[in-house]
Symmetry: C2
Subunit: 339 residues, 2 copies
Amino acid sequence: MRVTLKDIARETNLSVTTVSLVLNQKECRVSDSTRSLILKTAEKLHYYPNQLAVGLVKQETKTIGLIIPDISNHFFANLALGIDDEMLKHDRNIILSNTNDRPERDLKSIQVLKSRGVDAIILAMASNVDQTHIRSYKYIIDTSPIPIITVDRCNPAFNCSALKLNNKKGAYNAVSYLLSLGHKNIVCITGPANSDSTQERLAGYEWAYRDAGVSLPEKYVFHGDYLKQSGNEAMKQILQETKATAVFAFNDLMALGAYHCLRQEGLSIPEDMSIVGFDNIDFSDMLEVPLTTVNQPTYEIGREAAKRALLEITSPEAEKQTISFEPHLIIRKSTAKPR
Amino acid sequence: MRVTLKDIARETNLSVTTVSLVLNQKECRVSDSTRSLILKTAEKLHYYPNQLAVGLVKQETKTIGLIIPDISNHFFANLALGIDDEMLKHDRNIILSNTNDRPERDLKSIQVLKSRGVDAIILAMASNVDQTHIRSYKYIIDTSPIPIITVDRCNPAFNCSALKLNNKKGAYNAVSYLLSLGHKNIVCITGPANSDSTQERLAGYEWAYRDAGVSLPEKYVFHGDYLKQSGNEAMKQILQETKATAVFAFNDLMALGAYHCLRQEGLSIPEDMSIVGFDNIDFSDMLEVPLTTVNQPTYEIGREAAKRALLEITSPEAEKQTISFEPHLIIRKSTAKPR
DNA sequence: TTGAAAGCGCTAACAT
DNA sequence: ATGTTAGCGCTTTCAA
């Protein structure tokens, strides 16, 4: 923080007020000569405003907080990019906070970001929350003086806007497709059991079976944690314990883990096993066998979340809104009729 | 910004000074009873400090700026994660700025972040800079009142610390390996022509040939832009214009594009063409043919960059330092003897 | 052991 | 057309 308004005021023999007025384009009542003098001096001195001071008096910092589990995850990286691109248009910056999927860090981060005066927070909650956490989240969100927008992971009990994929529909589409190919024994590799997305995708799975009039397999739920390794391990278990002909992984990363396991076991996709993923990350069409998956318009969700945050900043009275994005099944080479 | 020190002072009938003293652990000269009263009241009122105000008076915000071309790129995402993890340990936050690889946005972002009072900036420059840009960067960096640390992309003329992979050595390793397999006609898919990393890797390529006493192919430079599509297009050109038996792509993304092209053409890796990449992104070992590539310890570079920034914040007089990370060739299945 | 006062850099009513 | 003043929330001498 080098040059201040005061420096310019001294240099030009004018008051700080006048300088402030001019530099903020509120120049209506300032003579052209002084205005250009100020502008010139500011330029010469390389002046730029101290946004801390501005934020302090205006009670608005033009920053927004972004809390996500892990920026190195493609999903969240694209989300962040969408948000940042939109924010850039509005001269806002984002303060990033990775939580490593830990609920306590979500909670802590909300506090820290408020401390930093962010005008809004966009939150992708940790996936492994228990009831105690939920209560904390709910209290913090419901009483928050600034808008908190949840994305991807959310809870209907919270009084906040939420943007998310229609998970149930996505799972429904995926499983319906597998059923239509003739698979009867389709198993799932889920995310953490208590996460909403897991619950919703499971519901979509069951809905598809019901809708097709096919009876559910005896055991079809295998728990993962959205990381690659868990997909690998779940797949091993599936091979041992079931006669499944198709696997619906609740994200692409775990589908990748499943690929890995199948390759290790010398099995082929889709001949020995059909696989469907969820997310459509960059690489899912670059695999040995391009992955059939449910597309999630992540970048777009980020942009919309940003827009929503902006809206709620300017209109705090706006009704909280749940915005649903429609999924789209992308059929590639990892799925075929069972043999 | 709800509750302030003043509120606590009023509630406890003490002065703002005392409250501040206690809440900042500078409690040496405060009686135990008042101290616990203050602590209790702060708790009750859900007080948390306004960091804008703190930053304003302390001239330090405990934030650092991160400027990168694109957070959705695996390389930068991992870099960001490394930085954020390290910063978290020191109770600092990062303000993120994506530039879409545009030099003007780098320059603008430095300004904006300074305006926001960041204590340091970690900068991964845009790759397509011209001489005019370089001059601007140099001026801004050399005269910056706060430390600016460059990562990955940098320029030796700047007076700032730089962290980067030993690109020349990485390329040398990759090409030496291909030569040792018996390839004579190895071509490159480079990044933007005027980027340092491209120049360095090219130098490493030539060094390897020189070192092996093999004469350089007639044409071996094919320009890409570090994006997948450019790898695809370069590969097409290579197939048309050369008799290359091996391709060294300057990053994995372009190697992926090359894979795609080869698959389209019905050619096999490594039988018809050996491929080596650079970066070792997550997915390079999950491909149809796992990719031989030069590992770049991105997360680690991020952490070290963060440490360096922290050090230069506390010791502004510290000598600027260039920190080099040693590359490591990971041999997988995309390389074999030429046939 | 505690408090008063000044000031960080800026904005905005309210003079003049 | 321009300046005075107060104050955003906090820290930090200095005084009591």
